[in-house]
Structure formats: structure tokens, C-alpha cells
Symmetry: C3
Subunit: 437 residues, 3 copies
């Protein structure tokens, strides 16, 4: 029996240049709401079938309301002589997110109350927001601020905070069953490359791939402003939630550091799947327990939903020095790190899609492999990803209708894809049948 080539053994490469997409999205000023998110989603929509949703300011979403929309055209600090020292146009991190408009001349002391710097990283611009704060402010390198010793400065922020809408994107690829995988990434940060253009780019490529092929599960890709976007989506999609069997929040996937997988609130299959894939990769990684702080898994795992949603990242929020600073730029993100992250997640999704339960047609004793030419064929001679005879024996022994392929792979400590190959061999030989759920 010739070994069929397994699509899963094809090198997993994203269909687009991830780094290039990060570069394209980098200059845009994003926030919870506003034109930057719309522009970002319109670029993503060139690659995937993205439904763009607008939810009006003031709409009630659980305990929250959709906020006013913020847009900004200009922000600067200049000397009274007219020399521009700090300019939103040169880096959108310079203006505190959700700053209200302001124009005028302020003493240094007055201005100081609106200045955010990082004394310990004096050359970097911090990223700060004033959501729900009715404030304005500037973020600048501490070293620059130290040199600004004039008595007064001219300040101008040309922004508006007004009724509008919150924008988010959703791409749903239906599967053969109603069961779904939820993937979510945040789109509300301005020019920060790892956090979270990396997540956006990787998720775009994942959505492209899932749309291209027939799949057992449905795949729901959400591009959301963090917190309020997730809350808004959940408030509008409660009937869908029962279908979500697995989920991942994706973020910070472009730095070169080790992988971190944060488990879902409850012990869920997604946790075992990601841990299994990372364990059988050569990649350094760490598994973190659930904690109610981080990204939108906070909302997906809130007690009334308790969805099986974990979070995959490389750098962990707050734990890498570039986090929420101007150093999280296009130099910090590496093309090969993006591709590697893509590959890991594609492997996880393929695993979930293929994770069936098999049952021996007759489970009494081993079948006679020799007369099916399955004894010699596979003993010792395995192509990459193909099944060894031992893999086939595991499959035939654990195909009891209770063990899923992932259960088998974990118990046998064998990469999932090899058990999957073994399952196909056994299926073709009529030794097992898939058990429908």
C-alpha cells in the first residue's frame, strides 16, 4: 500500500508575506474606535472575506456601553517660537489615546501633568491611553522631556470624541459540522508591531488557509478592539457560543522569544492540543495557567461563558522591555518568527479538525496485519510524518470509541500527525471506522 501524501506534511507556509502586511499596517493610528480601525480592517479585507460591523456609540453591551468614537488629525507640542518638538505625525504614540482636543499655551508645570515618559527607558516613547478619562496628554522620551525647559509651550491636539460607532471585523468559514473554533486578535493598538500587528497578520493568513479547504469544523476569526470589542461581539452573538468547542486569542507572535500558551479557565481540549503541538515541536515554550488578566480570554472565559479559549503568544504582556513602547517597532518583529507562529497555529487547527474518535470494526484481539501487507510495509520504514508500525498498533489498541486521536497521541506520546496517518491506514484497510459525535 503506497503511503498517501498527507497535506499536513506539506510545509506550512502562510499564503501571504506576513512581515509585509505588518509593515503595511504599521503607520496607521488605531484605537478602540475610529478611522484607523476601519482602514486596518479594509486592508485585511483584501485577503479574506471579512464582514465589517459597526455598532453605534451608546449601544448597551452587558455592563458596558459602546464608547464615543475618537478621531485625531493632529497633535503637537511646539515652542512659542513655533519649533515643533513633539509631533503625532512622526509617531502616533506621541498622543495619549482618546485625548480630547486642546489648543493653547501652557506653562511647563501645567503641561507636565499631561506628559507621560519612561524614566527607566529614557529614549522610548510610551504607549498610553486615557479611555473613559476625559483627559489629554502626550507621550515622549524622557530624555526629550528633560531638555524641554522653556517656561511655556504651545500645545495643540486636533481630535474629536463624538457619537459614532465601534468597528470590528469577523470572518466565518463554515465547516461540515456546527462545531466551531474561535480565533480572536486585537486591532486597537496604534504603531506597535508585535502588539498586535503580528497577531493580525498571522490571523489573516490563517483565515485565508481555512477558507481554501473543506473542513470539519467552522472557523470564526474575530478582529476586535480589545475588551470593549470582545464584550460587544459577545453581547451580539450569545446564540453562537454553544458551538464554540475550542478557541485561541492570538497576540504578540512576531518577536523571536519562546512561545507562551496560557491555558483556558477550565481544563479544555484546546489546552491539551496546543501543549501537544508545542511538545512535539522543537520550539522552546512554556505553559501558563489561566489568570483573569491579559487579553480577551478575560471576556471569553468570564464565568457565565467559560469558553474553552486559551491565549497563544510569544512575548508576554508587560514582560518584555519593548512592550507598549516605541521599541515595539518593525525592527522588533522578525519575518521568520511570524512564519513560525503561523505554522504552529496551523498545526493546532489541523489537529483540532482531524481529532476524531475511531472505533475498531471488531476490537477483539489484534487484526492480522500481515495478510493486509501492513506488517512489512510499515515496520521501520517511515517517511517523514508517516506512521510506524508502533503508531498503527497504538491506533488499533486505543480505537475503542472513547479515545480521540489527541487522547491517543498524548497517551502514546507520539506526534498527532503520525497517529492520524495510522488512522488513515486503518480506515483504508477497513479495520476502524470513525465515530460520529
Amino acid at each position: 500500500m503506497p503511503m498517501k501524501l498527507d497535506v499536513r506534511e506539506i510545509e506550512r507556509k502562510p499564503a501571504i508575506d506576513l512581515y509585509q502586511l505588518v509593515c503595511e499596517l504599521f503607520p496607521i493610528n488605531r484605537s478602540q474606535t475610529g478611522s484607523g480601525v476601519r482602514k486596518t480592517l479594509s486592508i485585511i479585507a483584501r485577503h479574506i472575506d471579512l464582514e465589517i460591523n459597526e455598532v453605534r456609540t451608546g449601544t448597551s453591551v452587558f455592563d458596558w456601553h459602546v464608547p464615543m468614537e475618537w478621531n485625531i488629525r493632529h497633535g503637537s507640542i511646539s515652542t512659542v517660537g513655533g519649533k515643533c518638538l513633539v509631533d503625532f505625525a512622526s509617531n502616533n504614540l506621541h498622543v495619549l489615546g482618546y485625548s480630547r482636543p486642546v489648543q493653547g499655551v501652557f506653562t511647563r508645570a501645567e503641561l507636565a501633568r499631561h506628559i507621560h515618559t519612561l524614566p527607566d527607558q529614557p529614549d522610548l516613547i510610551p504607549y498610553r491611553t486615557g479611555y473613559y478619562a476625559d483627559d489629554w496628554g502626550f507621550c515622549l522620551p524622557h530624555n526629550l522631556w528633560q531638555t524641554m525647559n522653556d517656561d511655556v509651550y504651545h500645545v495643540e491636539i486636533d481630535s474629536d470624541i463624538s457619537a459614532g460607532s465601534l468597528t470590528f471585523g469577523e470572518c466565518f468559514v463554515p465547516g461540515e459540522t456546527p462545531n466551531e473554533v474561535l480565533l480572536s486578535t486585537h486591532v486597537c493598538h496604534p504603531s506597535l508591531a508585535n502588539d498586535n500587528l503580528s497577531g493580525i497578520a498571522v490571523m489573516t493568513a490563517l483565515a485565508m488557509r481555512q477558507a481554501r479547504q473543506k473542513r470539519r469544523l467552522g472557523y470564526r476569526f474575530l478582529f476586535l478592539p480589545a475588551t470593549i470589542g470582545a464584550i460587544t461581539w459577545l453581547a451580539r452573538n450569545e446564540p453562537v457560543l454553544a458551538n464554540i468547542k475550542y478557541g485561541l486569542v492570538l497576540t504578540c507572535l512576531g518577536d523571536g522569544g519562546q512561545f507562551h500558551y496560557k491555558q483556558s479557565r477550565k481544563a479544555a481540549t484546546i489546552d491539551r492540543a496546543v501543549a501537544h503541538v508545542l511538545r512535539h515541536s522543537s520550539l522552546r515554550h512554556e505553559i501558563l495557567p489561566f489568570a483573569p488578566y491579559g487579553y480577551d480570554e478575560r471576556q471569553f472565559c468570564s464565568p457565565a461563558f467559560d469558553l474553552p479559549v486559551g491565549c497563544l503568544m510569544r512575548g508576554v504582556h508587560g514582560a518584555f522591555p519593548e512592550y507598549h513602547t516605541s521599541a515595539d517597532n518593525l525592527d522588533f518583529v522578525k519575518p521568520e518568527a511570524l512564519d513560525q507562529s503561523y505554522s504552529v497555529i496551523e498545526t493546532v487547527l489541523d489537529l483540532l479538525d482531524a481529532d476524531c474518535t475511531y472505533e475498531r470494526v471488531d476490537g477483539r484481539c489484534e487484526p492480522q496485519l500481515g495478510r493486509r501487507d501492513l506488517y512489512r510495509t510499515i515496520a521501520g520504514q517511515r517517511e517523514a510524518g508517516g506512521a510506524t508500525q508502533m503508531d498503527l498498533l497504538w491506533l488499533l489498541n486505543l480505537a475503542d470509541g472513547d479515545h480521540s486521536l489527541l487522547d491517543m497521541a498524548v497517551r502514546a506520546d507520539i506526534p498527532f500527525a503520525r497517529l492520524e496517518s495510522a488512522a488513515r491506514i486503518a480506515l483504508d484497510a477497513g479495520l476502524v471506522h470513525a465515530r460520529s459525535e
Copy 2:
């Protein structure tokens, strides 16, 4: 919102001087029965509302009978010349417990059969009893015995073993619910300070405190002669047992050694509670598995009862050199060790009393903390024992009606009192409600 002062954050100090109570009780000769126990209980009763029970000799209690009452007035060994060498009046350990009366002149060889010494600790008097043995005897330092080389000695024990009663004390502080905490300590040892005047003193102060305040649980404090006292109490109180949700046997709490907590027979909440409190203290401690040897947990955890009763001690029976010798005296027990033990147990009791289950009023997504002024208030600025923002997030995430506060504290690895503060904040904000059992 101003942080309410938490009674639990008040320094936990016993209402009486524990060491002074130990000193007061030290000279009394106690045994399973007799006037010493009565005198001890009458001193305790000055501090707490103690019901003193007398159960008549011969009363059937399960497989046992209440024994004869033993009282002793005098015991000595003298030379025939009248020089007193060993005198009960100078140390009540000198006479074997339950010695029957004897008077006469004995050869050294005859006497030797009634002499107990510790050759390895030759300066110490051992503590020995002859319960149910119909014997008499003396305990003395091995070095003294070695110098006693006369041919004959005059021996006198003026005691009586006669029908009377077994005496025990009980103090019940009712709570708002029928659920109870059982606390038990043994009162049958003569002048041994750590074993068990330390337990008696600490438990007296705990009873004083519980009586002073309104509590959810009832608290039942038992001052019992070991073994027969516990058996007698159990035989007379079977209907009460179903209410006992947690229990602790307290003993040897005055030495300066590390804490030892011996778990109950079944995995019980009390075990998790004590382990949690010790873990989040700075105190050295060790958790020991249940074994059917030790103190009255043997009876409480007998198979037909299997009550959730553990045992908290510092020095472990038989494992410290002063154990059951005259070196377990007022020098061996330290005032600060007594106070520290009190504080640990009070913390455990407060935890048990506060260990409610909470449920989010609406568990869908996180509530908006900002508009309740709960975001800034608590971030990073925590008073001793107050909740951090992270504590509040844990509380809000795990308030699913299934996790008790202790469950949350163990999962989040956060001191219980901080989650309790978080629960009060959330309760005050109308975000959670307590779930009645």
C-alpha cells in the same frame, strides 16, 4: 470608595495572657478522672461559658466503660530512717498515674519492679500511667535511682480508685447556621506544660473570642480527657455530629518548633484551609498525612464517624526530647509561641467562617470597574490585607457559584483575606451575591 477596615486585619491577640494561664494550671495533678481535671475546668470556666459534665463510673460508652475515678493525696519513697527521697508533692509526675494505694517496706528488688526511669535522659522524670492496670509505681530520674542502694525502702501512696465520674468541659458558641467547627484538646496530663496546657490555654482564648462576636458557624470547644473523654463525648453526642463541617484537635502549641498539621482521614476542607493559612504565613510548617495514631482525631476519624477533623501541633508526640518528661515544663513553653499558635488558629477559624460561595449577578464578561471607581482605587495601592486589582479580577472571574473563597484563594494562590476583601468590594458594588448553601 474608602477601604473598610477588616477585623481580620486587626492584629490577632489572645484576650488573656496565655503563658500566665499555663503557669496557673501547671501545678495541678490531672489524670483521666479526678479532682485535678475538675480544678482545671473551674479555672477555665472563669474565662468562658463552660458546661462541666460528669459521667458516672461504669457508664457504657461504645466499646468502653467510664473508668473508676482516681484521686491521690500523697506518694513518697523514703529511707527506713525517714528521709524522703521521692515525693509526689514536689512533682506529680513522680507517681505512676492510676497507682493504687500502697504502704509498707519493700526490698530494693521488690521496689524496682515499680520504678520507671529514663536511662537515656537520666536527669528527667518520665511521665507514665497505669490506666486499667491495677498497679502502682514511681517515676524518677535514673541518676537518683542509681544512688538508691539501701536494702529496703518505705513506700507510701495515699490514693483511691473508686466509683465516681469522668469530668469534661464543653463550650458551645452557636452560629447563624447549624454548621459547626469542632475544637478539642486534652486535659488529662499532670504537670506537663506543652502537652497539654498549651492546647488548653490557646483553646480557652479562642473560645473567648468566638463568644464575643457574631459568627456564621457554631463553635464547639471540648476539653476532654484523652481517648476515654473523646469516646464518652462522642457516645453522648451522636446527633450533633452531622453538623460538624470542620474540626481541629489542638495540642503541643507552646514549644518554639515548626508547625505540624496532620490531615483528617478524608480529604477535607479543613485540611486545605490550614494548609492555605500556613502557606501564606511566614511560619515553617509541615503537612502530615492522616495516620490512626496520635490524639483524639483517632476517635473523631474512626470509620463510622470519619469526621473532617485534623490535628494542629508544633512538636509532634514522641518526636521531641522533652515529650512526656519533667523537661516539658514552664521553661519549655514560650509566651510568643503560644501567641503565634493562637494567631494561626484564629486565622483558620476566620477563614472557615468567611468561606462563602459567591456568584456574579451577571457573569457575562467583566463588569466595567472604571465607572464604579474600582479601577483606579485598587490598582497598585493596597493596604495590608486589602485587595489588589488582580485580587478583584480573580474574585469576579471565579464567582461562578461553584468556587468557594477558599477554592479561589487556593487556585489563585492569594491569601484568603485579600480575596475576602475583594468579595466585600464586589458585594458593596452589587457585582456579586453570596450564595446560600
Copy 3:
């Protein structure tokens, strides 16, 4: 109360000389089928009441058929000058198992395709079979083959493969209950001493012993050709399987290496029993998880049966250098290793037979041991295997009708036999009763 002598404390010695039996069986040429198996079983039948079964060639057994019977009278390679170089008569490993008859002169190159050697162990003859292969071949030392440089050789194998039957032996010792222990060993290997005359000899002695005494459980001893024999037995005995509560496959028990116990597919009592016995022995051992490769546990643990059958061995298949070579001979197997293996398994069987559940007659508090003379008698003074007072306290505490003796022994970490002694003491004192299943 005098301590009764426990049969389990009698030195566990096999009733026959195990090594002598191995020697007697060694010269016989065994295979899956044929006269060698019959001769082997007839020798075993001198010691035990062995039912010898013949199942006709072609009989359908699950996915398999009983194969043709193979018998061989002669096999040799000679020079054309008539000098015999390789002779079946000198070592039956020389002929590939199931070789079809052949006679003629072959060029060295033609012959080479039928020659099996071990280049890394050049002085040893490998053991190889060609089941289901329609082939013939010779196995010889690599060094010998290297010296065979003639152009042609005369080859002769006088064998026949023809309709006949598969032979296996079964000895069933009924017990007082329908519950059974299955013991199985393979009988299909020619002159290999450890693999598996050691298993055959040990199992024969075990069957002798079980037949000699009254037992609670039934004991079923199977002497089977590997794989096809186990499949055949299972196919003919499905109604029996529900009675099998414990099982062991026995093999490779004569080498001096450490014990290896491979767990059953499911977590079963047999696994805990063997681990307990090995843990409380002084023997080096290792516990291996189940894997679907090895001996006939593969069939017993196939998914539709999933019997609680583990495998006890010393050397592990494929992991010792003598494995499946002519070095697995009478020098490799040690008399004392055989006896030690026997002793371990007898201890396990005694444990299983004695593993009852006890319940206190009255489980409220401890019973008064003193008045039953059980307090002084046993404290500190224990004969080998007798119960200490602590053992008795464990027994009395855990005799709740739920803990089996093995459960108790594992929890208390006390050798099973001591708890068993404690149980007898408690039974005799009327403190517990055995709970029927």
C-alpha cells in the same frame, strides 16, 4: 493471644526444581504448532492437571485462521563434498521457523538470500521465524558464514507444512468464587531458555501450588503459542472473560536482571498489587506503562476485551543482548533467579486471594484493645510478617467496608501480609467482619 503462623510467612519455594525443568525442556524444538509444543505440554502435564487442546488448521479465530502445522526432522547445509557445516540437530535455532522443505545445490549467492546472521554478535545464532512467509532459511553465526566461501552448497530441510492443528495447554484451578486470575505464558520458542522456558517452569510450579490449597479465586494457567495461541484461546473462551479480575503474562523470568512490570491497559488492581509487592520487596524493579507491543497482553488488552492483564518479566524483549539468540541458553538462566521470580508471583497471587474488604462490627471510635489483650501483646513485639500495633490500628481505622486490604496497605505503606495478619487478629477478636462482594 498467640500469633498464628501465617502460611504466607512460610518461605515461598517452588514444589519442583525449576532449573531442572528448564533443562529438560531446552532441547525440544518448539514452534507455533507441531510436535515440539505437544512434547513440551506432555512434560508439563506430569506436574499439573493440564488439559491439552488441539484446534484444527483453518479454524477461524477472529481476524485470523489457525495456521498449517509445521514439523521438521532435519535441516543442514553441507559442502558438496558432504561435510556438514550447519545442522539443525546440533541447534534447532539453525533453521528458520516454518521453513518449507527444500533440497538441492545452491550457489552461495542464491543461498545468501536465505541466510540470517547477526553481524554485531558474530558468534551467536539468531532466532528467526518465517510465519506466513512461505520461505525457507538458515540462521548461523556471522563468523561461520564469513568462512563459507565455496561456490555452491548442498542444502536440505526435511520439514512439512500441512493441515494439522494448533496445540495449547490449559490448567484451571477453581476457587470458591467465580472470580479468576488469568496467567499466561508462551510455549512457541525453540531452544531459548529465558524466553520462555523460564516462564513455563515458573508457571508450572505456580499451578502446582494453587492446586494444592483451597483458594477464594480461580486460577487459569494458559500455556499458549504466542499471538495465534492467545487469539485462539480468546476466540474459544469469550464467556469466561467476564470472570477474569486479574491477569499476568509471565515471561523471561530466569535472567538475573531487575524485574519489569508492564501495567495493564487500564489502571487495574493487578497493577497496584504487583507494584506493592515489588515495592515492599528488596528487589530492584521498574514499572512500565502499557504499550501495545510485547507479549500476549496485546491480545488480552485489545480494546474489546481490555482485560486487567499486565506482564511480569525480568529482561525486557529486545533489550538484553542474549534476546532471541543462541546465547539465551542454559548458562543465561540462573536457578536462584527462577526461584526468586516464583516467590514474587506467589506473593502476588496470595495477595490477590486474600484481598478482602473488612468492615468494623461497630465503627464508632476505637475498640478497647486493652481488655482484649491486644494492646500489650502486639506493641513493639512483632515476629516476621506479624502485625504491629500500628498495623492493627490502621486495619481498624480503614475497615470501613470500602477499603480493601490492598487499599489499606497502599495508603498505610505497610506490607500487605502485615495488614492481613492484623485482619486475622481483628476477625478473631470479633472486631471486624469480612464483607462479601
